[in-house]
């Protein structure tokens, strides 16, 4: 395999990596907000169920969660993977990608939820009271007053999670998703060359560099006020 061919192969794997990253991020952030609100609910059962959920998801390895998610339909729900694949209109590989994505979304939603909870609880009580006294509805107060301030506060911890997510996508190979690292390893074993592994590292590094720049820009954009 020539240098160019290896890079093309790696880029194909990188596509999966970015795809999984994007799907997880887009779904886990709103889900995380919902989980965070549930974990702060005044209705005790909801609160405790959510707390247990967060405890379990954060307390077990993502690797295990992916395997569990992939086994649940066939063992607990008695639906064969073939039927499920047909239902979604995807092949076996596509189905695996869905399993992985679901596991990632659940896992990251739990982490995001804790960050959001911290952010929301960190907003001084006076902000909500000021909104109440001014006759705002609860939704208005949350979306116009609380959430913008939360966004600014949690930017740094979220950027940590997001960068971890990029690297965690390499775990997807446990369900034989042909993501960047799996491709690199495959090339290393078949071609008996070591450098594709480092090339994969460079891919991760550049992608994370881009994210870092973006987060810095966001931070700068929000620096016009202090919370």
């Amino acid at each position: 395999m020539s240098f160019g061919e290896v890079l093309i192969e790696l880029s194909r794997g990188f596509g999966y990596t970015v795809g999984l990253f994007a799907v997880t991020l887009v779904a886990a952030i709103p889900l995380g907000i919902i989980v965070a609100l549930c974990s702060m609910s005044k209705f005790r059962p909801v609160k405790w169920v959510t707390k247990v959920f967060i405890w379990v998801v954060r307390g077990t390895p993502l690797l295990l969660q992916m395997i569990v998610v992939s086994f649940i339909p066939s063992t607990v729900m008695m639906i064969s993977n073939k039927d499920l694949a047909n239902f979604f209109g995807v092949g076996a590989e596509g189905l695996n990608f869905i399993f992985v994505a679901v596991a990632f979304i659940i896992n990251y939603a739990a982490y995001f939820a804790e960050i959001f909870r911290g952010g929301i609880e960190g907003i001084p009580r006076g902000q909500r009271e000021a909104a109440q006294v001014l006759g705002m509805k609860r939704g208005q107060a949350f979306f116009l007053i609380i959430l913008p301030q939360v966004c600014k506060r949690i930017l740094a911890p979220i950027s940590n999670e997001v960068i971890t997510l990029v690297k965690d996508t390499s775990l997807a190979r446990i369900l034989s998703i042909a993501e960047l690292f799996m491709i690199a390893q495959r090339i290393v074993t078949t071609e008996a060359i070591i450098w594709p592994l480092f090339a994969a590292g460079v891919y991760y590094l550049l992608f994370n560099g881009l994210l870092t720049v973006l987060f810095h820009a966001a931070e700068k954009k929000l620096s016009y006020y202090k919370v």
Binding site: A130, V133, L134, G135, M136, K137, I145, Y225, V227
Partner: protein, 314 residues
Amino acid sequence: MNENLIDNNAPLLCVKDLHKSFGSTQVLKGVSFDLHKGEVLSIIGPSGGGKSTLLRCLNFLETPESGTISVGGETLFDASAKMSRKESDLRIKRLHFGLVFQSFNLFPHFNALQNVALAPQLLHGGNKAEKREAKKKNAAVLAKKRRELRIRFFARWLHENPFKLWNELGGELNELKHRLNAEQSPEAAKLLERVGLADKMYNYPCQLSGGQQQRVAIARALALKPDILCFDEPTSALDPELTGEVLKVIRDLKQEQTTMIIVTHEMEFARNVSDRVIFVSGGVIEEQGTPEEVFGSPKSEKTKAFLSKMEEKI
């Protein structure tokens, strides 16, 4: 809000037998008082005596266990009756009152004008189609300005420092944006002028001094035209040299016949500005009367002790 007050002698606000406790600590043990339209009432007393809790009960931030609150003859709260305590109903009832907090509680991500204009916009909203129309018009004006600035930038960027030029033109654009915003909420702009902050309209709270922030907060509370404006120790979080500007605004409001309840530790101010003074200690009203009565010849021992302690401080 209630223009249909038939009997002019009837009090605007009637508070009867308010009780409130947090856990096993009783904070209010039966507080009753009346307030007439245009009157200024000061509430003084030692810390932890229940002054702030009383104000928070009036604004429905706390729910009293018993007692009634009525404004202009309308019973807003009656603990014994089965009244709705849903947030959506309280929301409307709160609008009778305005509240200025000790710690200002301005919204940090909005500038002064937005802080004042936001609540009326949300409440009255106005016609949606009209709003959209106005937005479109503003966008068109801004787009035109952007085009013009771009041309000016490219005409000059080789001749002067391009970074400086960019910032200068950006400032011009911001100015236009601000002007358009102010045109959209003329009432908020007027209120800020009234509290002497016409030149700080587009500053964010973090760019304002404590006194300025508190004045914005007062304008914000006035924006909804409450029947009664409440102040919860408005100058306690301020540096001594900044209290004057806030107290002056409150004095101006008295000139305009605003009905106010002021919880304060500024004894001199309470004496000068208020029509009536209430001394609250241990969750009950120990003494009430005109400032001359309460400050000049206090009857209760507790009032005497408190006032002499306050004097010692000076």
